[in-house]
């Protein structure tokens, strides 16, 4: 290093090498090495995604495709009343039967993917951007900022999530944006805590320490050194977070507080629509098909997400 504190050309080169050596994409390392018959086995499992993962991904891709292109696909008009008689059981014409207004349940279920996935996707992206940024800054700078952000997260977590959500959606216009933002806000604290934890781990690591010693600016360290490492565990949890968001949207819809409007078909709304005792008894299909599709979708998100989590060896989080 030069006397003026800036790294020399040679210093920078060695730093790069140093950094490359220490850049480990692991949040939590397994405590034991690959001992025969020991946990090493899991290591091997972890390194393979498996058939289930790809099935889940295929389902999600298909649902996403349907969500994106539903209007162009040969589905019945999901809002058309009296497509057939009311509460008709599944048939060749209406695969999932019809609901109380004689609308095609299959078509509605397919369209239902739009709101669920849009809200889920937006919410988790919002949570990751805001929560991630706060978490990284808190974890990197520590001190007052960390305390403040940590406290804010704790407060957000202490506030019953669904109560916060209905507080917002009950009073504001229930547009797609408002609902997505609401659920996004709920995602901030959990994602932020994860980002902070990962940042703490890496901020202690040699490559960051080295960068600091070598005089890199904070911004540069955060963007160049920390972000790539923190994004991995966060990214690995994206699908899991999205599953949570999809369920949250469904809960709001079930309470009648998700996106409003006849076009805004959502699985939660369909389920509550078919959940009246009499409908449940006489026209079970109205509630059960959306339940099934929603279940499989959340399952796929969870499964694929968990596989990715294992793949990147990120510790399981409870949120």
């Amino acid at each position: 290093m030069n006397p003026d504190g800036r790294p020399s050309r040679r210093g920078r080169a060695s730093r790069q090498r140093l950094l490359r050596r220490f850049r480990v994409f692991r949040l939590v390392r397994s405590s034991k090495g690959p001992e025969p018959g020991g946990p090493g086995e899991d290591e091997a499992v972890r390194r393979r995604l498996g058939v289930g993962f790809w099935l889940a991904v295929i389902w999600l891709v298909v649902m996403a495709f349907i969500a994106l292109f539903a209007p162009m696909l040969p589905f019945a008009d999901p809002t058309k009343v009296g497509y057939s008689g009311p509460r008709e059981p599944p048939s060749a014409g209406a695969w999932f039967g019809t609901d109380a207004l004689g609308r095609d349940v299959f078509s509605r279920t397919m369209y239902g993917a739009r709101i669920s996935l849009a809200v889920g996707g937006f919410a988790i992206v919002f949570g990751m951007v805001v929560g991630g940024a706060l978490g990284i800054l808190a974890g990197y700078f520590r001190g007052r900022l960390d305390q403040a952000v940590g406290f804010a997260f704790f407060v957000l977590l202490s506030f019953p999530a669904l109560v916060l959500a209905i507080l917002i959606t009950a009073t504001l216009e229930r547009s797609l944006l408002v609902v997505s933002l609401t659920i996004g806000i709920l995602a901030v604290a959990p994602v932020g805590l994860l980002a902070r934890a990962s940042t703490l781990v890496y901020a202690e690591r040699e490559f960051v320490a080295a960068a600091r010693v070598l005089g890199a600016r904070n911004g540069r360290i955060i963007v160049r050194e920390l972000l790539p490492n923190v994004v991995i565990p966060m990214g690995a949890l994206t699908l899991l977070g999205m599953a949570v968001a999809v369920v949250a949207e469904g809960s709001l819809a079930f309470l009648g507080l998700s996106v409003a409007g006849d076009e805004a078909i959502s699985w939660g709304k369909m389920i509550v629509d078919g959940a009246g005792l009499r409908d449940l008894q006489n026209a079970t299909h109205v509630a059960m098909f959306p339940v099934a599709v929603m279940f499989v979708t959340v399952l796929a998100l969870n499964f694929a997400g968990d596989r990715i989590r294992q793949y990147f060896d990120v510790k399981e989080l409870a949120f």
């Binding site: 506030f159 019953p160 109560v163 507080l167 059960m288 409870a318």
Partner: protein
């Protein structure tokens, strides 16, 4: 320990302040408290009416309405800025006055006293269900890790985790109540037995997904623990497997479960909003949905505070519980 307690208490108070202020501001900015007190008159343009001609008899009633509005504003401090109102509210709280509901003038304390037991029964039953299911399930799955049962239960727990509360509620309602007619479909308060019996489905709805997440955590932790030397040591001591499992392995494996127990309290209360709705339970969850959509400030704030308090206290107790689980924590 004393310092730990004091720090926790300070945190508790700070969190309560923040949570209630958040709720207070949210409700004030998002809703209209005045409307709840005086109804339609909240929308009167009283300044314009005051400015109107004194002789105009058609304004007489409007003027008297405006007086009512002004009175209500004064009574509920609605003429003060939000932070001042917040402080006034805190002052009332501290002196034990939880206020009265805007909706029906019932004292909030009484509303909570009426509704809380149902929700508590529900939550306690749900936790009993989830722990009662998760611990044996996790133990057996870990004991037979990667065998058929374990693989099957991994799938099953994944499935349970992926069923949203409301969907599970609807499915259970259909199967256990309508189809097989084992449990009643709705809340019954005729007798304690009937009450508990009618709470079984709601408790299952809340508890089963939680059981799945407990089971996963417990299984993972138990598998790790079972590879610990002290478990090998216990085996070398010739202790039978189940004794090792319960006497040696279980307790050190409960950390994640206990942590999630704390966190899940919040999630459970959220879930109770939906579940109480499905099964018609007159509890706190339903009360808060009603109160929120009606801008019934005192009720919402009191319940939010109650929930936040519970959340913080339970997590505090979880911290204490850690030191029972692992004496090493005490030394730290």
């Amino acid at each position: 320990m004393a310092r730990f307690l004091i720090r926790r208490l300070v945190l508790l108070v700070a969190v309560l302040f923040a949570v209630t202020f958040l709720g207070f501001s949210a409700m004030n900015f998002l809703g209209d408290p005045l409307f709840n007190v005086v109804g339609l008159m909240a929308e009167l343009d009283c300044e314009a009416i005051e400015a109107g001609s004194a002789e105009d008899p058609s304004l007489d009633r409007a003027r008297s309405d405006c007086e009512t509005v002004a009175e209500a504003r004064a009574t509920y401090h609605l003429d003060r800025p939000v932070p001042v109102r917040y402080l006034l509210w805190v002052g009332d709280m501290v002196t034990g006055d939880f206020g009265t509901s805007f909706q029906n003038d019932q004292p909030v304390a009484e509303i909570i006293r009426e509704k809380l037991p149902e929700t508590l029964i529900l939550l306690v039953m749900a936790q009993i269900v989830s722990l009662g299911v998760a611990i044996p399930w996790g133990v057996v799955a870990a004991y037979r890790a990667n065998r058929a049962f374990d693989r099957g239960s991994t799938v099953a727990s994944f499935g349970l985790l992926s069923v949203p509360n409301f969907a599970l509620g609807v499915v259970l309602l259909y199967l256990l109540s309508l189809r097989w007619q084992i449990f009643p479909s709705a809340y019954e308060s005729d007798s304690v037995v009937g009450l508990v019996f009618s709470m079984v489905l709601p408790a299952l709805t809340l508890g089963l997904p939680l059981a799945a997440s407990y089971q996963r955590l417990l299984r993972t932790d138990l598998i790790t623990t079972l590879q610990e030397d002290f478990v090998h040591m216990a085996r070398a001591k010739g202790l039978p497997p189940m004794r090792i499992m319960f006497r040696h392995a279980l307790r050190p494996s409960l950390f994640s479960v206990v942590t999630v127990f704390g966190v899940s309290t919040g999630a459970m209360i959220g879930g109770s909003l939906v579940v109480e709705q499905i099964f018609g339970i007159p509890g706190i969850g339903r009360e808060i949905v009603t109160a929120v959509v009606r801008d019934d400030f005192p009720v919402v704030l009191a319940i939010v505070m109650l929930v936040a308090c519970t959340f913080v206290i339970i997590n505090f107790m979880v911290d204490l519980f850690y030191s029972w689980l692992d004496p090493r924590v005490r030394a730290r």
